[in-house]
Each structure stands twice: as C-alpha cells, then as structure tokens.
Symmetry: C2
Subunit: 359 residues, 2 copies
C-alpha cells in the first residue's frame, strides 16, 4: 500500500526528547515500512525514518528561532500533500484538523488520528462541520466530550518491541515519568509515595507554560527526603529508570487521552498504580499489569502490593497489546476499510470490476 | 455579481474600536452592496453589515473568553465557504493564507487581500507553494519582501466618504493616531513635536504585546508639558481629534503596508508629516496632502510649514483617491478580470458563447 504519514512540524520525527505525537508517528511509520508498505513521511527535515522523507521545513519548528509564524510551514506542507494526493492510496493525518481543508477535495481517502484532548468547546462546532471526516481515537474514553466526530476506530498507541527492555524492579522506588503539569499531578505522586513509605524518583520535562506551576506548587515539595527530581530523561535512559522501579505512579488529574508512560513501564515489566480517569481502565489490566485506584490512600496501599504482580507477565501483556507492530496492523486494517468504503462513491465500473477480481 | 467576503474572526465587522482588517472589510462590503452587488459576509455574529451575514461564531474571538483555540472557528468557517462556493461568482479572502487550502479545489474564482507585513521569512516557502493564488497588495511597496506571490493588482484602502468630516485645524496641535508600538514610533512623534515647538496629542491603543514597551519606553516621556496622552478613541471621536489638528505625525519606523491613519487625516482635511518608509510615498502627495521627510529634524521643520497646505484641497484629494467607493470599484474590476481569466479553463462552449455575447 502507498501510504502518506503527515506529522506536525513542532518536533522532529522522532523527537529528540519528550514529544508524544511525533514519537508515535515515528513508531507507526517504521512499523509500516517493516511490513513492506511504501510509506512517505511528511515531517521536518531533521527527522530520521525508514520511510521516504518529504521534508516540509529544514528543522523542527520548536528549535528554529527564525520562525515567528508556526502555521505557515504547516499550511505549505498540507498544500503539497494535497497536490501529491494521487500518489498515495491513503493519507494519514497527525496534525489535527488543519489538514481537513486541504484533503476534503483532494480525491484520496484520508483519516486523522486525534492525539490530544477533545474537551475544548470550540471543537464541537468544528466537528459539526467536519462530521464526515474519518477520525481515529487513541482510547474510547477520549471520545466522550466530542461524540459528533466520525470515529472509525480506536487504535491504542504502541512502542517498538525492543525499544525498552525488562528490568528487575529491584531499585525499590516508585517512578513518575512525564511532564510537570497540574493534569499529570506530580504533587499527588509525592504524597502517595510518602503515604506508602517509599522513595519517589521524578523524571519529567517542564514546559514553559508550566514554569510557574513548578516554582510555586512542586519545587517546595522536592526537598522532602523521599523525593528525588531527575529532570528530563532521554529514550535511552528510560529502560533503566523504569526497569529498576517497583512501579510507575500515574496519578493523573484529567481525562488522559492515552498515557504512553503506562505502556513504557509495562515494556520494562514494571507495574502501574494509576488513578481511574480517561484511558486508564483501557490501558491497565487490573491485578495483572497494575492497580487502578480512586484516591491517594488507595494508591499508597496498592503501591505496597506491587511486588505481588508478575513482571514477566506484564512484559508479555505489553508484547501482546502495546507494540508498534500491533498498532501498525490496526491502522492497516482501517486503511483497507477506508479505501474499500470510499470506492463505491469515487470508482467507476472498471475499478469495481478490478476490485471484484482482486477480492 | 454574487460576492463572498471572508473576514478574520478576531474582531467584529466593523470592529468596536481599533482593528484594521475588519474595518476595511466592513467598508468594502457596504460599498459593494451600495453598488448593487449581492454580497455575503462571513464574519463573527456580532458584525453589523448591509450584506447578508453568515455568522461563523457568536461573537468576535478577541472578546470571547471561552475560546482557547482561535484557529478552530476559522477553519470551520472556511470549510463552509468551500462547501457553498458554487453560490458565488467570486470569493474574496481577508484572513490570510488559511483560506487557500480550502478554496484551491473548490471550483470558484477567489482572491486574497494581503493586509499585513510580508517580511516574515516563513512566507517565502509558503508563497512558492501558493505561487498561483491571485493576491492583492494594499501598496506597491508592500510587495518588495515577497516578490514570489502572484499579485494581480494593488488596491489602496478607502473610507466611506462621509465617515469623517473636514475640520478647521485650529487646535494648533500635532496628532498621533494608532498603536503604541516600536514600529509606529510614538517616541519619535514626541521628539518631533518638541523640536517644532508644538503640542502633541496621542490617541493610541496599547496591545498586550506592547505593554512592556509602553511602560519602559513611552510612559516616562508622557510627563513632558507638550504631550497629552488621550488613550484609545472611537470612530466617532476621530473627526474632532484629527479635524482640529494642525497635522498628523506619522513617523513610522517600519515598512508600513498601508497606514490608514494618513487617509483618516486627509478625510478631515488634515495634512500629514510622514517618514519616508513603505507605502508613504504612494499615499501622501508631497506638498499637497503633506510632507514626506527623512529625519526628525526635517519632520519638525515640515510641521512648522503645515499651515501652508490647503485643507479643502486635501479633502478633495481624499474624495478622489481614498474613498470606499473607489476601493470597491477597483476590486470589482479585479473580480471581473479574475472571472474572465478563469473561464477558459473551467467553462464549456456555452459559457464562452454567453461571455462573447455579453462582451
């Protein structure tokens, strides 16, 4: 199949450090190439991929101080995608709704993965207009605030099978991994670890918008003896950080759309203590890969029981449910359905006949 | 002619106070309706127009605190415009390049007025991709940093003839009108007035991005006895503010794309002292409607000579060159050229025959 993957341009594919969407685009793209598909990746020029790279700008926009208008390079890329639409069997958007305008009239089937939160009020009128654009949610829970979109499936994220490797979990600490932000609730993690009488290591990025929150709400808590703040860590450091942990604390205070950190922990054989919210019940298998809790007290009690879970079995669940290959297969089956579903409208008798023969 | 005017959504059409683009959209739309055209205005729901209003959102986005993503309503509007494209003979965009994606494949001739600065580096690759989109500059000078765009004409802005009325100019002060920002250079205006030994009244808006500049660079200068800071004024107050002034100081420190304040002054019969930059030589008739200068000293000398200029003649030049009716006529002739120029590609023999008869 000839597939175009359309990435946002803020980060490279894959991103140098933190960066959820572009990381998934990288894993999916390489897995599709591994399956033998002909993939073209539209992304920033500093991306590294097994696919054919169509560079939309020299480098990731977040790192380019000369760019004042971050929209212009994205719009130019989308027009080029529309002009080249005939070269592809299917076009897969990861840059939100901007691509809909370009691709609605370009003649090639397309779909969009919704990577972010869907509870902003202005999305409702937008998806009333784009109510027939095929979109993919990354968890079923993600859909709730925006039922008017045309969901054609849920595809949970996946990681390359050998990206992170199982660890022993003998470090004895709880791990917190992600961003320092109110919705990720590092303050809760600190209190949970204290209640459980365990050490907590925090590996997290601080975005500019969260600097004030960090200074005022979190930094004062870091002086406690059970807390160690590690800062932002790279992909290469994750196996050790997660693999040595007794468990990952995922005490989120928002409707988490997916929560890649939970899957990263599972890849290391590390169980998860997660607050019941958003995607959590879809990602964590209760009593197998972790514990789903409703309060900080419950979380602390669960943290004490993490050593009852079988780390080899957790890794096995990861391999079954959350690899990039599984994700790529899910998408390919959606691509097929999409191409087949659109054919009656755009195809002529010759096309239909050819399809009948091929079937 | 059936014409769609597509406004940005940040301000109402016309805006309540300052707001360049939406003001011009209002003047143009009403003038086109006055000429007998069937005009549909796509804009925020709090707009007031003689055209048929297609409300894209309940109120101007700048005033709506519930909106976090300002792009979503614009994208939804552009998709609706594309879906309704067949209802119009021509579509006129005022919301920058976002509309190109939607309208390139919608089948109706369209053009875009470029209302802003064109010297951002990311616009060059964008207009290499959109090199055949017909665009209109608001001055010839505006084009210089972006020669690769497909300009089909320059249409200077215009005001409704009776919006502002001539004044006596007997207030004896110099006027500064616009935004407090480094490129509008109110500091220069203050120094020029001091050199000329004249009073200066400043009527200006302070945008959030310019708050620091105002506090640090401008506010300390306002204590001087020859300076009076009036704040932001409404349309209704402009005739008096400009009409009583001996002249408008327009000491810009950037490539001004148009400079509506100069035309507003002329409508009041008030001459202009303007720094040679951007559109200035195209708007000011040297020695007739004002003086074009190259330094603050020259500006001060010119300010002393403003009473030599004939205020009735200045108003006459305004009526000839800068009314909304003249602007609307210019655009209608571009619309005709555009429709005629596109016809050979999309029209069938019947259409061509009908055109030949009409010609």
């Amino acid at each position: 199949m000839r597939i175009a993957q359309i990435s946002p341009l803020m980060e490279a594919v894959p991103p140098k450090l933190y960066g959820g969407t572009e990381r998934i685009v990288a894993y999916l793209t390489d897995a599709l190439v591994g399956m033998g598909h002909k993939v073209t990746l539209f992304a920033s020029g500093d991306s590294v991929t097994a696919a054919s790279l169509a560079a939309a700008c020299p480098q990731a926009l977040r790192l380019d101080p000369t760019i004042r208008d971050h929209l212009a390079p994205l719009i130019a890329m989308l027009e080029i995608v529309a002009q080249r639409a005939g070269e592809f069997d299917v076009i897969h958007l990861h840059c939100d709704y901007l691509g809909y305008l370009a691709l609605r009239r370009a003649g090639t089937p397309f779909l969009a993965t919704l990577h972010g939160r869907l509870d902003l009020p202005e999305l409702k009128p937008l998806y009333s207009v784009f109510c027939d654009v095929p979109v993919v949610s990354i968890s079923d829970a993600q859909r709730a605030p925006l039922p008017q979109a045309h969901y054609i499936g849920t595809v949970p994220h996946g990681l390359p099978e050998e990206l992170l490797l199982p660890g022993s979990g003998t470090g004895g600490y709880l791990a917190f991994l992600g961003r320092i932000s109110p919705e990720k609730a590092p303050d809760r993690a600190i209190r949970i670890a204290a209640l459980a009488g365990m050490k907590l290591k925090i590996a997290a990025k601080i975005d500019r918008v969260d600097q004030q929150y960090f200074k005022e709400q979190i930094e004062p808590l870091l002086a406690q003896p059970h807390v160690e703040f590690v800062g932002e860590i790279s992909e290469a450091e994750k196996s050790e950080f997660l693999g040595n942990a007794a468990g990952l604390v995922f005490p989120i205070a928002w409707r988490e759309p997916f929560g890649l950190a939970m899957v990263e922990a599972m890849a290391c054989g590390t169980p998860v203590v997660a607050m019941r919210n958003g995607s959590v019940p879809e990602v964590v298998d209760e009593g197998v890969t972790g514990f789903i809790v409703a309060s900080e007290t419950e979380a602390a009690l669960a943290a004490r029981r993490l050593n009852q879970l079988d780390r080899a079995r957790i890794r096995h669940v990861f391999e079954k449910r959350f690899t990039a290959q599984r994700m790529a297969k899910d998408y390919v089956s959606l691509y097929h359905r999409l191409i087949a579903g659109l054919e009656p409208e755009r195809g002529d008798m010759t096309t239909k006949h050819r399809d009948a023969i091929a079937a």
